[in-house]
C-alpha cells in the first residue's frame, strides 16, 4: 500500500539513477580536458540553480526572472568569506546559501502582494538592484573592477582542489566537477524528498489553487516566503560553486544578468517544469550547447547556395553568415520557443510520452499519459 512512497518507483528509474551516479564518477576518469570539465561544472551550476527555480516556479507557480540575482549574491558571498576571509568550504557554502536565502525571504513578501505579471517585473527589479549594489559596494564586491576568488578552499574531508584517490591525481577542474555534482546530487535528493512529503505537496497546492490551499489549512504566505528563500539559497550555492570555477567575479551589466536569468528559466523549460530531474536534464542539454556548436562548427559549414559561404564563421575574421556565438544564441532562442509551443513538459515529458507510447504498443490498453500543463500561474 505504501509502495508509492519509494523515491524510485520503477525499475527504469532505479537504473537511471544508478547510471547517473556512475556517469558522475566516471566522467573525470575519461575526460581530462580542463575545458570539458569546466563546461560540465557550469552545467552542474545551472542544474543546481535550475533545481531551485523549479521549486519556485515549477512546483509553487511563482514566476521569476530573478534567479541570476541570487546566483550573483551567492557568488560574491562565497568570494568574500571563502577567498577574502579564508573560511573553510562548508562555512562559505553555508554563508552563500544564507545570504541568497535571506534575500529570497525578503522578496517573498512581495510575492504575496504581486502575482504573475507583476511578480515577473519585481524579480527583474531585483536583478537591476542587485547588479547596481554590487557595482558600487566596492569594499565588499570590488565594484566595477570585480573581485578575485583565488585561494578559495574546496576542502571537506578531502581537498577537491587537489584530489587524489587511490594514487590517481585529479586536476582542480576534475575535483570541482566531483564537488559540484555531489552537491547537485544531494540537492536533487533533498528536493525530491521535499516534493513527496508534506511541505512539497503544500507548494504544489499553492501552485494549482492558492485560495483552496489556504482553506485547507496551508499557510500560503509562510510557504511562499520559505520557498523563495530555499530557491534563493540553492541559487546562492550554485553561485558559490561558479565563483570557484571562474575564479573572478564582475557584476556585469543588468541586461546580461537578466539574460542569465532567462537561461535558468530555459533550463527548466527545456528539461521539464515541475519535475525533479528537469533542471539537470535541461542543464546538461543547454549548458554544453554553445561549446558543442563551437567544437563542431566546421561540420555545420554546409554552403548556402546563393552566397557560397559557410553558415558559420569560425572566427570573427573569416567570412560567414553568423558567428558561432550568435548561432548558439539563436539556436537557444528557437529551442525555448519550440519547447514552450510544442513540448511544454520539456525533455522529461517527452521521455515519459515515449515510454508510454512504447508500453502502449506492447499492451493495447488506452493509458494516455497526463497532459496537463504543470505550471499554473495565477493569472
Amino acid at each position: 500500500m505504501t509502495d508509492d512512497l519509494r523515491l524510485l518507483r520503477s525499475a527504469g528509474a532505479r537504473i537511471g539513477a544508478a547510471l547517473a551516479v556512475a556517469a558522475v564518477v566516471v566522467t573525470p576518469l575519461l575526460i581530462s580536458s580542463d575545458f570539458w570539465m569546466s563546461v560540465f561544472i557550469a552545467a552542474g551550476v545551472f542544474a543546481l540553480g535550475g533545481l531551485g527555480l523549479n521549486l519556485l516556479t515549477g512546483y509553487t507557480g511563482q514566476a521569476s526572472l530573478g534567479q541570476a540575482a541570487f546566483v550573483l549574491i551567492g557568488a560574491y558571498t562565497a568570494a568574500w568569506f571563502g577567498a577574502d576571509k579564508g573560511w573553510p568550504m562548508l562555512l562559505w557554502m553555508a554563508a552563500a546559501m544564507l545570504a541568497a536565502g535571506l534575500v529570497g525571504a525578503a522578496i517573498g513578501p512581495f510575492a504575496l502582494r504581486f502575482k504573475g505579471n507583476y511578480l515577473v517585473v519585481v524579480s527583474i527589479a531585483l536583478v537591476f538592484v542587485t547588479v547596481h549594489v554590487l557595482q558600487n559596494w566596492d569594499s565588499f564586491s570590488g565594484g566595477f573592477n570585480g573581485k578575485s576568488v583565488g585561494g578559495i578552499s574546496l576542502s571537506f574531508l578531502v581537498d577537491f582542489g587537489d584530489l587524489s584517490i587511490f594514487g590517481k591525481q585529479f586536476t582542480p577542474e576534475q575535483g570541482l566537477f566531483y564537488l559540484t555534482w555531489i552537491v547537485v546530487g544531494l540537492a536533487t535528493l533533498a528536493v525530491a524528498n521535499i516534493i513527496r512529503t508534506r511541505p512539497g505537496r503544500a507548494l504544489q497546492a499553492i501552485r494549482d489553487r492558492d485560495v483552496a490551499a489556504e482553506v485547507i489549512g496551508i499557510r500560503v504566505a509562510r510557504n511562499k516566503v520559505i520557498v523563495f528563500a530555499l530557491s534563493g539559497a540553492m541559487a546562492g550555492l550554485a553561485g558559490g560553486l561558479d565563483a570557484a570555477r571562474v575564479g573572478f567575479l564582475t557584476p556585469g551589466v543588468a541586461e546580461s544578468q537578466l539574460l542569465l536569468s532567462i537561461r535558468y528559466v530555459a533550463v527548466i523549460v527545456v528539461g521539464g517544469v515541475g519535475t525533479v530531474v528537469g533542471a539537470i536534464v535541461g542543464a546538461l542539454f543547454l549548458g554544453p550547447l554553445p561549446e558543442l556548436v563551437e567544437e563542431f562548427s566546421d561540420k555545420i559549414n554546409f554552403t548556402v547556395p546563393l552566397v557560397d559561404q559557410p553558415l558559420l564563421k569560425d572566427s570573427a575574421t573569416s567570412e560567414g553568415i553568423m558567428s558561432n556565438a550568435v548561432f548558439s544564441e539563436i539556436l537557444f532562442s528557437i529551442l525555448l520557443v519550440v519547447f514552450l509551443m510544442f513540448q511544454p513538459r520539456g525533455l522529461v515529458g517527452l521521455w515519459h510520452r515515449m515510454v508510454a507510447s512504447l508500453k502502449r504498443r506492447g499492451t493495447p490498453t488506452d493509458d494516455a499519459g497526463p497532459d496537463i500543463e504543470p505550471v499554473a500561474t495565477p493569472h
Binding site: M37, A42, N145, G146, F248, T250, V253, S315, A316, A325
Partner: protein
C-alpha cells in the same frame, strides 16, 4: 597539483633572477629607452639561477641554460598549440557582446598581420605558419574562462585578450599554466604581471600626456580653463582617472565636475546638462566609443560645445557630426597619411592586400589589432630562435626579448623583460578630429612624453 605549482613558481623565480641579472647591467636606460641591446645578448648569464636561491632546486628550472648561444638552437619540439609545423595563437575577444564593436576589427587587424607573415615571410622563422583561434568572451569573465580552457591546450600563447574584466579573470589561469597573454587593454598594472605582454602607452600615461599638452602646449587653454571629466565605471576608467588626477595635481588645475557613466548607457541628457551647468570648457573623456559618440550627439542637441580630450578607447574613427571638430585624442598610432613612418606605409599596403572582402576602410581598431601582433611576432621569433615553443620556452623568450621595434607605429618602443625589467612606453601622439584627412579623420598635432610620467608609478 602541488608539483605543478612548484614547477611554475620555480620557473617564475628563475625568470625573476634572470631579469634581475639583465636589468642590473641595463640600469642607466631612461624612459626614452632607444637602446635595443642588453637583454638579447645578455642572455647567457645563467649562473645566478643555481647559486643564489635554494628554493628553486626543484626540477625544471633547467630550461634556462639551453638557450645560451645566438645560433639557432635546433627546431622547437611540438608543444601545446604547436604541432611542429603550425603555430596556433589564441584570441579571447568579444565577438557578440557589448565590445564587439572593438573586438571584431581588432581580431581582423591581427589576422591581417599574420596573413602577411604567413604569405610574405613564410611564417615565423620563415617556416612555421601561424593560425588564429578565437574564443568569444562576450566581455564576461565566466565566458572568458570557459573559452580560455577551450583554447589553452591548442595555443602557444594568447595573442589578444580583449578588455579588462576578462583579462583579470584569465590572469590567474595564465599564471598557473604559465601561458603568456597579450592584454588588449592598456591598464598600467599589466606591466607588473610576468605572464602578460602589454602593448603601447598605458591609459594613465595617455591621460597625463593629453592633460599636460592641453594645459601647456595646445594654446587652447591653461590651468584656469574649467576642466571636467567623464569616466567609465571600470578599471580602465579608474586608472585613466587616476592618471588624470595626478596630472591635475601636478599641473595645478581642478577637475570641476566629475561624472561617471556605464557601458551600455544610452541616455546622456543628465550627464550633459550637469557638465553644461558646471560651465565646463574642456571635458576629458575616459569613455568607450559608442557611448562617447552618443554623449557628444546629446551635447549637440543641448547646445553644449566644449573641447573634448579623449583617451584611445573613447575614439572611434567613424566619428562625424556637427560638434566634433573640437575632439582631441591621445593615441599611439601615427597619422594614417604620414608616409614618413615606414611601419604605417606597410600597414596600409598590407591592409589593402589582406583586408576582408567586406571592403572596410583602415581605422584605429584594425590598426591596434595589427600593431599588437608585432610584439607577439618578435616574441615567437625569439622563442623559435631559442628552439623552444613550449609555454616555458615562450615565457623564457619574453624575459630575453628586450626592445621591440615597431617601425614608428608606436610613439615609443616597448622594452620587454621580466616585470621589474620592463620599460613601458609612455609617449603619446595627440590628434585632432579632421574630416578632411581620411581614412582616420585625424590630424597629428604633437608627439610627447610628459615629464610628469617619470614621477607616476603605474599601478601605484
Amino acid at each position: 597539483m602541488t608539483k605543478k605549482l612548484w614547477l611554475v613558481s620555480a620557473l617564475l623565480l628563475t625568470f625573476a633572477l634572470f631579469a634581475a641579472a639583465c636589468g642590473s647591467s641595463d640600469d642607466s636606460g631612461d624612459s626614452a629607452g632607444s637602446d635595443t641591446t642588453e637583454p638579447t645578448d645578455g642572455s647567457d648569464t645563467t649562473a645566478p639561477t643555481d647559486g643564489t636561491e635554494p628554493a628553486d632546486s626543484g626540477s625544471d628550472a633547467t630550461v634556462a641554460p639551453d638557450d645560451g648561444s645566438v645560433e639557432p638552437a635546433g627546431d622547437p619540439e611540438p608543444a601545446p598549440g604547436f604541432d611542429g609545423e603550425t603555430i596556433k595563437l589564441g584570441y579571447l575577444t568579444d565577438e557578440s557582446g557589448p565590445l564587439a564593436i572593438l573586438g571584431v576589427p581588432l581580431t581582423t587587424g591581427s589576422q591581417i598581420y599574420w596573413d602577411y607573415v604567413n604569405e610574405e615571410l613564410g611564417g615565423v622563422g620563415g617556416r612555421y605558419q601561424v593560425e588564429l583561434a578565437t574564443g568569444d568572451t562576450k566581455d564576461d569573465p565566466s565566458s572568458a574562462v570557459q573559452e580560455y580552457q577551450r583554447l589553452k591546450d591548442d595555443s602557444v600563447l594568447f595573442a589578444q585578450i580583449l578588455s579588462t574584466p576578462p583579462t583579470q579573470a584569465v590572469l590567474e589561469f595564465l599564471k598557473e599554466d604559465n601561458i603568456v597573454g597579450v592584454p588588449g587593454s592598456l591598464a598600467g598594472t599589466w606591466a607588473n604581471e610576468a605572464v602578460l605582454m602589454p602593448n603601447g602607452a598605458a591609459y594613465e600615461y595617455e591621460m597625463i600626456n593629453i592633460a599636460d599638452w592641453f594645459v601647456n602646449d595646445s594654446g587652447l587653454g591653461g590651468v584656469d580653463t574649467v576642466q571636467c571629466v567623464v569616466s567609465v565605471n571600470d578599471l580602465y576608467g579608474e586608472v585613466g582617472l587616476d592618471g588624470l588626477e595626478y596630472a591635475a595635481g601636478e599641473l595645478g588645475f581642478e577637475l570641476t565636475e566629475k561624472r561617471t557613466m556605464n557601458r551600455n548607457d544610452t541616455d546622456f541628457a543628465a550627464t550633459v546638462s550637469a557638465l553644461d551647468q558646471a560651465g565646463c570648457e574642456a571635458v576629458y573623456a575616459i569613455t568607450v566609443p559608442r557611448e562617447q559618440s552618443t554623449m557628444m550627439a546629446e551635447a549637440a542637441t543641448q547646445g553644449f560645445d566644449p573641447i573634448w580630450l579623449g583617451a584611445l578607447p573613447s575614439y572611434l574613427s567613424l566619428l562625424a557630426g556637427p560638434n566634433f571638430e573640437k575632439f582631441y585624442v591621445a593615441l599611439d598610432n601615427p597619422d594614417f597619411n604620414d608616409t614618413s613612418v615606414p611601419g604605417m606605409v606597410d600597414f596600409l599596403e598590407r591592409f589593402e592586400t589582406y583586408k576582408p572582402d567586406s571592403g572596410a576602410e583602415p581605422n584605429s581598431f584594425f590598426f591596434s589589432g595589427y600593431y599588437q601582433q608585432i610584439a607577439v611576432h618578435a616574441l615567437l621569433e625569439k622563442a623559435v630562435e631559442l628552439g623552444d615553443l613550449s609555454r616555458e620556452g615562450i615565457a623564457n623568450a619574453m624575459t630575453q626579448l628586450g626592445e621591440v621595434e615597431t617601425d614608428g607605429l608606436t610613439a615609443e618602443n616597448y622594452v620587454y623583460g621580466a616585470p621589474e625589467d620592463r620599460i613601458p612606453t609612455s609617449a603619446s601622439r595627440i590628434f585632432v578630429y579632421d574630416p578632411d584627412n581620411p581614412p582616420n579623420l585625424l590630424t597629428e598635432l604633437a608627439l610627447l612624453d610628459s615629464e610628469l610620467n617619470d614621477g607616476y608609478e603605474l599601478g601605484g
